[in-house]
Amino acid sequence: MPSDFISNLYVFILAGFVGFEVIRRVSPLLHTPLMSLTNALDAIVVVAAIIIAGRHESTLSTILGAVAVAAAFSNMVGGFLITDRMLRMFKLSKTKKP
């Protein structure tokens, strides 16, 4: 078993706990923006796709990498855009209760 695996597993478990504790506190009010924001963050796989597409090891890997860049980047752009659009709509009532 490679030693990288163990250190990645450490990171995975710890990030899972952090995610659980942070996301548990998100109000049900914002569950839809939560999902679109986590999608946008997940689109960080674009960095791996960029390297595959740019290393130019074979035609196949370049094509697969380029398609992956497009798919992930569309997620990143669209995810941030729609999350912000949704959050802009959430307003408090202007007048206090009488």
Binding site: V26, P28, M89
Partner: protein, 464 residues
């Protein structure tokens, strides 16, 4: 002090990005800081992408630039869809995320072959299987939400057997590849079989279960990204995937609890179809109905009103009329709140977004656990396009298919009004006890038209 290597600088940029991502989710906990969260996530993403573009291994840029432009051209329209279309947009976005992860895994396999160890092959196979099935599963879910595909569960005899056999086949091929990674022609077969399994997995699931399915697919998309992080030894992917995966997992658990069902029941139960027979054999009972004028008189005279919106409100596009009703009642000094069930709408939190879009202040949007204790103090509970989530049988009738499901206790309010097209049962095919209570008034008609009529009566009439 030794200077940093380029790789270390890039890793450092990724570390900053990861910290910003966690802060983004932390700030999302409250609507007042949530937009700061989006900004933090954006900065993190930009830092990571720019650092990657400076990577020394990249020797040619033209395809990257083309792909980034194409991605932006697809992503911008997907970010500008109307709020009613957000569930299917989210499903498409899970599909894109999973596609990217699967394609990178496939590319890695072909680049590294023949130097693939058993351990590496296990990681790649698992990653590609999950990514592929999430891709097609999400596309089917998007098709159902967009109503290109039928919303009703599509089932046939022996379905679960067929689906699980296909998954079994994918796993067997993966196991074969682990021991013989050089069988490169088997790898595409594994991908195709996984794609088929994803479609088979989601096809039988009905529209009402979409909140759970979307959350579950979210969690798979996260898992595939995290596994990709293991394959590529990239901590930023492991962390982002773990965050996305745990978010999807938490939401799935919340959705399942809100429907009092288990994961296996959602995935293999084909809700709706099973209970359709439960309606048969009920005797005819009478319900009281009322006109818009009567409803307006009761609402105008109330002190506290709780509105319970369901997916039917969104289908009828009634949310803007509901806002007018809210304004009109608030002006008269009536306190109006909204009681929102966790599974109202087609994805977690969807109803809140639709009401916020209609300019209803978010401090009036209450979740089930907050609003239920206040129900006995409510003069009127106005149910618009919601059915099963208000059925008292879930509390009282242990024989009911929805028994044990947490509901909004609208039957505890002094008067209940239900806007509904007809007496037909809801999606689950279960008769609703609520409609036959003495305190219940049925308002028959289209939600948008009826709410509009009530608003007009309130404006014109001299009630209250």
């Amino acid at each position: 002090m030794t200077p940093f290597t380029p790789q270390q600088l890039i890793d450092f940029a990724y570390l900053i990005a990861v910290a910003l991502f966690i802060l983004a989710l932390r700030w999302l906990s409250s609507p007042s800081t949530a937009r700061r969260g989006v900004l933090s996530g954006e900065i993190g993403a930009v830092i990571a992408v720019v650092a990657t573009l400076c990577h020394f291994e990249i020797i040619q840029y033209q395809w990257i630039v083309v792909a980034l432009v194409v991605g932006a051209m697809v992503g911008i329209p997907l970010g500008l869809v109307p709020m009613t279309a957000v569930p299917q947009r989210t499903a498409v976005s899970h599909a894109c995320g999973a596609l990217a992860a699967a394609l990178i895994g496939i590319a890695e396999y072909y680049v590294r072959i023949p130097h693939v160890t058993k351990f590496m092959m296990t990681e790649i196979a698992l990653e590609v299987i999950i990514g592929s099935l999430t891709f097609t599963g999400s596309l089917i879910a998007a098709g159902k939400l967009q109503e290109i595909l039928p919303q009703r569960p599509i089932i046939y005899k022996g379905q679960n057997f067929v689906s699980l056999s296909v998954l079994g086949a994918a796993i067997l091929i993966a196991l074969w590849l682990v021991f013989h990674p050089e069988y490169t022609h088997l790898f595409p077969v594994m991908v195709v079989v996984s794609l088929i399994f994803g479609a088979l997995l989601v096809t039988p699931i009905g529209g009402a279960d979409m909140p759970t399915v979307i959350s579950l697919l979210n969690s798979y998309a996260g898992l595939s990204a995290a596994l990709l992080g293991f394959v590529l030894n990239s901590k930023v992917l492991v962390v982002a995937g773990a965050l996305d995966g745990s978010s999807g997992f938490i939401l799935s658990v919340i959705m399942c609890k809100a429907m009092n069902r288990s994961f296996t029941n959602v995935m293999f139960g084909a809700f709706g179809q099973v209970q359709a027979s439960a309606v048969a054999g009920k005797e005819e009972r009478t319900a009281r109905s009322a006109t818009a004028e009567e409803a307006a008189a009761i609402l105008g005279a109330a002190n506290a009103v709780v509105v319970v919106p369901g997916y039917g409100m969104a289908v009828a596009q009634a949310q803007h009329k509901v806002r007018e009703l809210y304004d009109s009642l608030t002006k008269r000094g009536v306190e109006v709140k909204f009681g929102i069930h966790p599974v109202a709408g087609r994805m977690p939190g969807h109803m809140n977004v639709l009401l916020a879009e209609a300019d209803i202040p978010y401090d009036k949007l209450m979740d089930m656990d907050t609003v239920n204790p206040e129900m006995p103090q409510m003069d009127v509970a106005l149910v618009i396009g919601a059915n099963d989530v208000t059925n008292p049988a879930a509390r009282t009738d242990s024989g009911s298919p929805i028994y044990g499901m947490p509901i909004l206790n609208v039957d505890k309010a002094r008067t209940v009004m239900v806007i509904k097209r007809s007496m037909s049962p809801g999606f689950a095919g279960i008769d609703n006890e609520l409609y036959y209570l003495d305190k219940t008034l049925m308002l028959f008609g289209d939600a948008k038209t009826f709410v509009g009529d009530i608003v007009r009566e309130l404006a014109g009439g001299g009630h209250g």
